[in-house]
């Protein structure tokens, strides 16, 4: 113990100067994509021009957020070893990000549905790559139940 104390370094240096929180979940992207889906539904059901204009603005914002969350997963969460094991992830993220742009510019419910399916495929890889355990904080309510 004395030796450990003696040898303990006196200066601490960091290799990460920005602290990543380490929490990643495709659900973030999915919720934004679900917003797009529902907004398109509401847009189609409405005849209120002002409402429809607002719906478009909000849908575009949400599509952009979905794209951001997919980008973060791709560039920050998925590591070279994940890509090696699940090589499809690169294309999945790339295509999903592009699909976000499509949803942004479209009022076609089918495009929003396609985006949801793509995010679900990313979520599948995230789950297989150990994402839920590696990145999320356990839900206290569920843990007690």
């Amino acid at each position: 113990m004395f030796l450990t104390r003696l040898l303990k370094p006196t200066i601490t240096a960091s290799a990460h100067c920005d602290l990543p929180c380490g929490v990643y979940d495709p659900e973030q992207a999915r919720i934004e994509a679900e917003s797009c889906y529902k907004i398109i539904e509401k847009y189609n059901a409405s005849s209120d021009e002002q409402f429809k204009t607002r719906a478009i603005v909000i849908k575009e914002e949400r599509a952009e957020l979905a794209k951001h969350h997919i980008d973060v997963l791709w560039s920050d969460y998925f590591k070279p070893e994940h890509v090696q094991k699940y090589p499809e992830i690169t294309e999945l993220c790339w295509k999903a990000a592009k699909q976000c742009s499509k949803v942004k510019g479209s009022l076609d419910l089918g495009e929003a549905r396609t985006l949801l399916e793509m995010i679900d495929k990313i979520a599948d890889v995230w789950t297989k790559a150990g994402g839920p355990k590696a990145t999320r904080v356990q839900n206290g309510v569920a843990a007690r139940a």
């Binding site: 370094p9 200066i11 240096a13 960091s14 290799a15 990460h16 100067c17 560039s75």
Partner: protein, 92 residues
Amino acid sequence: MEPALWAGDWIVVSGMSRPPRVGEIVLVRDPRKPENLMVKRVSAVADGACTLLGDRLEESTDSRTFGPVPLANVLGRALFRYAPIGRIGWFW
């Protein structure tokens, strides 16, 4: 800086008697916040400054973000890891 350096590694750093060389791991003052000390790998040295990159490019914040670091900020270079025991060894 994984796999070269892991969080919690205990290392010996020597002072700089010469400019750092490409490939060496150096202890530097963060140019954005001098009280922060960082360890990064030297990828280029030119005009009194060195370009530093982390080994995990996709995660690292390094000269791609904060630019080349003046050699005056380089405090030393990593020589030897003495703990944990299983990973004791020199850095070259």
